[in-house]
Amino acid sequence: MATTTQTYVKSKVMGRPAFSISKLAGQVIFYGAVGFFVINLLLMVSTVVIDSFAQSWFKTLLPPAFTTHWYPDLADEHNMTQLLGNTFFVAISTTLIALAIAFPAAYVLARHQFRLKGLLYGLFLLPMLIPPLVYGIPLATMLIRVGLGGSLVGIVLVNLIPITPFVIFILTPFIEQVDPSLESASRMLGAGWFRTFRRIVLPLIIPGLLAAGVLALVRTFAAFELTYLVATTGSSQTLAVALYGDASGAGIRAHQLVNAMAVIYMLSTMSLVVVALIFVKPTQFVVSLKNR
């Protein structure tokens, strides 16, 4: 990280070359490409919002007439309180449990060298690298066999699989940054390990816990595949699963109705993202493996 900043500063100090055609062309291409991507994205999302208020929308720039009745209709069709409750319950409990079991492991990975460390690393890395659908079907089958299919407990358990390692790998660099001599000093002054942990390590690690927690929350909120495989009953569905169900059962529902659900989904996840951006840098949403 330090290097990046240094690089940036250096290039500024070196001074900018005078105006040149190739530099301008580079600028136009770069901002053109990124702008095109971002504008398409924003317009895509806008059509969802507009359509959820449209009476009908055909071949025109904007719908000719607006209405708000899709939202009450949606409430008639789905138990929205339950859907929202399930979604937040799954996201919050997954995050809290993941933090609780990831923290000690991250601490060990950050602080200690030992045999089999590589093996442990690999074991934690696997669930992050293997796509959910590869292990999801056998896993869901096993949970259904054990009797956890269609239960919120089962959904929390499956979502923990990719999220726990994700949290471990976000926390490890944060713990590495805490100077180990602070802990040694505390221990030498007579504090037990618990006291050292509570008074020294924990306060210093809170930014890391917040970052990891918020990122885990956002990811679990949008998680689809694993939840879908386990949420076999209507009462255990989350917003993402219900949205998929409504959208892929095409022709049954008006698209405005599906988009109304999409707006609710988006508002919920966006509220989380806004909170997230207060605590974390945007690039942390992607765990970069280069640090490893």
């Binding site: 940036y8 490409a33 990831a102 690298l129 590869v134 292990y135 079907i137 056998p138 030498m188």
Partner: protein, 307 residues
């Protein structure tokens, strides 16, 4: 008293060494037990299940490869291997090719960097279902995108950008391009600018500097980004159904596996297909990583990855 203090000092030095083993075991236990119980055991359970054909979840009967043979002998199922490659490869290659010049441009930081990266991660936070859902109208036959192209007289008839192969490509690109881009950007900005400056000072053009200095240094990173992106694209599921044609053009492996397990009520076969998917990915990733180790052996020696 003096002795005690010296003794205390030695204990501090020696004590962690003795306690570490227990500490490590205890601290790692929750996460380790969880990964084993929920990842390793289901994996073995699935392997056993896939080798015992039939609808039973108890894996009874003789060990047999019947599920795998059935999959490969049924052209209606096994053609999905080829279909999945046709879906996953183009968008992976395209994402990588477009990320490299963009990351190269951005390697030393640019104006609005935080703003741009924030907007780029938007699709990651929306999730794949939401991305597919919002594509349906916008890229539809009567959507804004086709309307704009028609108004500009670029096309006469609307393009079939959803419910087609293109739909899945666009969805995967939107969903996974930011990830690839930010990863490659990370590698690119990690290269010490001194190397680049040295090359330019010795008279090499920017083009030559890119190919002789930067490219060999980012190649390992590009290989990793390719693998991760390919693996994600290869298991595309919701968008293949929502914006693709899951009965022919985008009948990808995950759709076939899901249908076998849930619609045909045959989890044994579904698991077998999921494992086929995993094995193919493993082969592709190993091939890329092997090629990477062959190609980059020399460049690593000269690597000043600006640590």
């Amino acid at each position: 008293m003096v002795n005690t203090s010296i003794g205390a000092g030695t204990i501090v030095a020696a004590e962690p060494r003795r306690r570490i083993n227990w500490g490590i075991v205890l601290l790692c236990l929750p996460a380790l037990a969880f990964v084993v119980a929920m990842f390793v055991i289901p994996f073995l359970f699935g392997l056993n299940l896939s080798l015992h054909p039939g609808n039973s979840l108890d894996a009874v009967g003789d060990l047999s490869f019947a599920n795998y043979l059935q999959f490969f002998n049924d052209p209606g199922q096994s053609d999905s291997v080829w279909i999945t490659f046709q879906v996953a490869l183009p968008v992976t290659v395209f994402s990588i090719l477009i990320s490299i010049p963009l990351a190269y441009y951005m390697r030393r930081g640019i104006r609005l960097e935080r703003f741009i990266t924030t907007l780029l991660i938007l699709p990651l936070t929306l999730g794949n279902v939401m991305v597919a859902q919002s594509m349906l109208l916008y890229y539809g036959r009567q959507g804004w995108f086709n309307q704009a192209l028609q108004a500009l007289h670029i096309i006469k008839d609307p393009l079939p950008l959803v419910h087609s192969w293109w739909g899945v490509e666009i969805a995967l690109f939107i969903q996974n391009f930011p990830f690839v881009f930010l990863m490659i950007l990370g590698y690119m900005s990690g290269i010490s600018p001194d190397l680049e400056r040295a090359s330019r000072m010795l008279g090499a053009s920017a083009w030559r500097t890119f190919w002789k200095v930067i490219w060999p240094l980012i190649l390992p990173g590009v290989a990793i980004a390719f693998c991760l992106n390919f693996v994600a694209n290869f298991t595309v599921f919701p968008s293949a159904v929502m914006v693709g044609r899951p009965d022919d053009q985008t009948k990808v492996l995950s759709v076939v596996a899901f249908r076998a397990a849930y619609e045909l009520q045959n989890p044994s076969l579904g698991t077998a297909i999921a494992f086929v998917m995993g094995i193919i990915e493993f082969v592709v990733v190993s091939a890329v990583l092997y090629a990477r180790s062959r190609m980059t052996r020399t460049s690593v020696l000269g690597g000043g990855k600006g640590v």
